[in-house]
Amino acid sequence: MSAGVELANVCADFGKFRAVDHVNVTVKAGEFFSFLGPSGCGKTTILRMVSGFIDPSEGEILIGGQSVRGVRPNKRPTALIFQNLALFPLMPVWENISFGLEVRGVDKKARRAKAEELLKLVDLPGAADKAISQLSGGQKQRVAIARALAVEPKVMLLDEPLSALDLKLRQHMRAELRAIQKRTNVTFIYITHDQGEALAMSDRVGVMSQGKLQQVATPQEIYNHPANGFVASFVGENNVFPGQIESMNGATAVFRTGAGAFRASLGPGVTRTTAAKLYVRPEQTRLVDTPPAGTNSIPVEVADVAFEGNFINIQVRNGDGRPLVIEARNDGSTRVPPPGSKLNMVFDAEHAVILADETRSAA
């Protein structure tokens, strides 16, 4: 039913520009896999290579273990959901959905039945005869999904399909997409620049920057153990301190920064000479009056407090005026320090990590 996708040393060149640089990754059959990265990082190019609109300049793409080099998109077992959906506005909903079946010579009655069935699956019954222009954004989304599912693809490719929706609908559709993927068990390859989407929906995430794959891991792994500075700052918030390693002791080190020297854990591949920075997540920091002896602490002054309900976002500045962020969970009795309070920001060595600046270079 579903098939895995393997990218073996794949490169894509546009003239002198290398959009995708030696990407190696295996997406398992039935997996929900996301490529996450800023715009221009090459993720859409990867999608277009898997769907067959462009061929890799180097390397091989295998779908279900078979190389698909030179196979046109209309002969591949993939279905692509476009960023703007690309529904056919002159056809009613059911003809849109059954277009792939029409192409395969399925008779009209069977096509209609299949379209109705898929409309139920995407929770849009009774919309078969509507015009595309009569649908709302979320409904169009569902029709696009149904249209792609109609051809029973082994791999479904989604190019930021939720980016045009408003926040509420986007969150709803995340859960919906995830549910459809689990129900159909089709391999989903999802492209997004929205870390929230990638983390919430995916089994695994591949973070990309400048055509290179930086890290492939589960969402928890990506967030808790980023491979380098790029992944850490692209996924989630961080307090970042430039500086250098003063001394090393096994997996921990002392890192000298402008705000003081801190004990921290070493990120993957970081050695004494690596250009690196210290990363501390706001939710791993606390504000205290007097720091316990032996912990990392920075004297700070509270600049601004944003009460968000379930958490409190506190903007502070240290002695050199560097802005730092602390995120405290609101348990109902959490103290909200007034701006101007002079306190100490503390964090544990195991939650402060020294990560390499350089994004991972090609193998």
Partner: protein
């Protein structure tokens, strides 16, 4: 109207309206009305004009229906104008698709320039050029003979062949540009979506691109058909012994017989027939007038 005044002020808005009204009334409607009125009056010596013989009748129109030759020329003009329209579409559609969706944006301006250069030469000269090209001992036959494609010269200027070639050449761009605009406005993702869903190229054209381009095609088709049916230059210059175009008959009534009254009647019949024909064809292809205006 209020919008116009608010945007440009009373003076400028008034000038626009007066100029437009002048063009419409004096340069378009008035001459038509003059011909229309004349078409119901008999052709008389100058002294009798305004006299007792100068009464309105349908005699000029009846002249047409009583002449089997004129009826035949009329029908053939409509038929061959349709042929020209279809040929123009057959040439323009692939070209429009290529220019809007295949050619890289760097070469498109050059290609458009190449297409437009022939328009810099007057229609008469271009028709003469075809007259020479199509001549029995002309360059086309010379070339085809030289390449061994034919073994004796083809008499191109026989029947309606040369007129069709000339009209297609003259009016093909009037088909190309609206079709180009229509295809251009189609989201390329839709073409890719169709292909991604397994559609072969011809079905993508049939189901996605052509339906989208229909208003442009209709607009081009109406223009080419009307221009062809109303053309006088090409049918005169590239005529063969057996080809007669309806406009030539109108011209003969007006300039050779000096009978403007019957000529006017014929001109109105042509206009009426073309309008009916176009309306019927648009109905057949389910195109609305408002689609074309877009």
């Amino acid at each position: 109207m209020n919008d116009l005044v608010r945007r440009y002020g009373a003076g400028l808005a008034g000038t626009f309206i007066v100029l437009t009204a002048f063009w419409l009334l004096v340069l378009v409607i008035l001459p038509y009305l003059y011909l229309f009125e004349n078409s119901f009056r008999p052709y008389l010596p100058v002294v009798d004009i305004g006299g007792p013989k100068d009464v309105y009748s349908l005699n000029n129109y009846l002249t047409f229906f009583e002449s089997s030759i004129h009826l035949r020329v009329f029908t053939l003009t409509i038929v061959y104008s349709s042929v020209v329209t279809v040929l123009c579409f057959a040439i323009a559609y692939p070209l429009a698709y290529y220019l809007s969706k295949v050619a890289s944006s760097a070469v498109v301006p050059t290609l458009f320039l190449l297409l437009l250069i022939p328009l810099w030469v007057s229609e008469i000269l271009r028709s003469f050029a075809w007259f020479i090209i199509l001549a029995l001992k002309g360059p086309l036959n010379f070339g085809l003979l030289g390449l061994g494609i034919i073994d004796q010269p083809v008499r191109w200027m026989s029947g309606f062949r040369s007129i069709i070639i000339g009209l297609v050449y003259t009016y093909v761009l009037f088909m190309l540009f609206p079709v180009y605009n229509a295809v251009q406005s189609l989201d390329t993702n839709q073409i890719e979506a169709a292909e991604d869903l397994g559609s072969p190229w011809w079905r993508t054209h049939w189901r996605v691109i052509l339906p989208h381009a229909k208003p442009g095609i209709a607009s081009g088709a109406v223009t080419v058909f009307m221009l062809s049916a109303g053309s006088i230059l090409v049918p005169t210059l590239l005529a063969s012994t057996t080809s007669r175009w309806f406009t030539e008959i109108i011209q003969q009534w007006m300039f050779e017989s000096q009978d403007w009254n019957t000529g006017s009647a014929y001109a109105f019949l042509l206009m009426l027939a073309c309008t009916i024909f176009v309306t019927v064809v648009m109905r057949l292809f389910r195109v609305r007038l408002s689609d074309i205006a877009k």
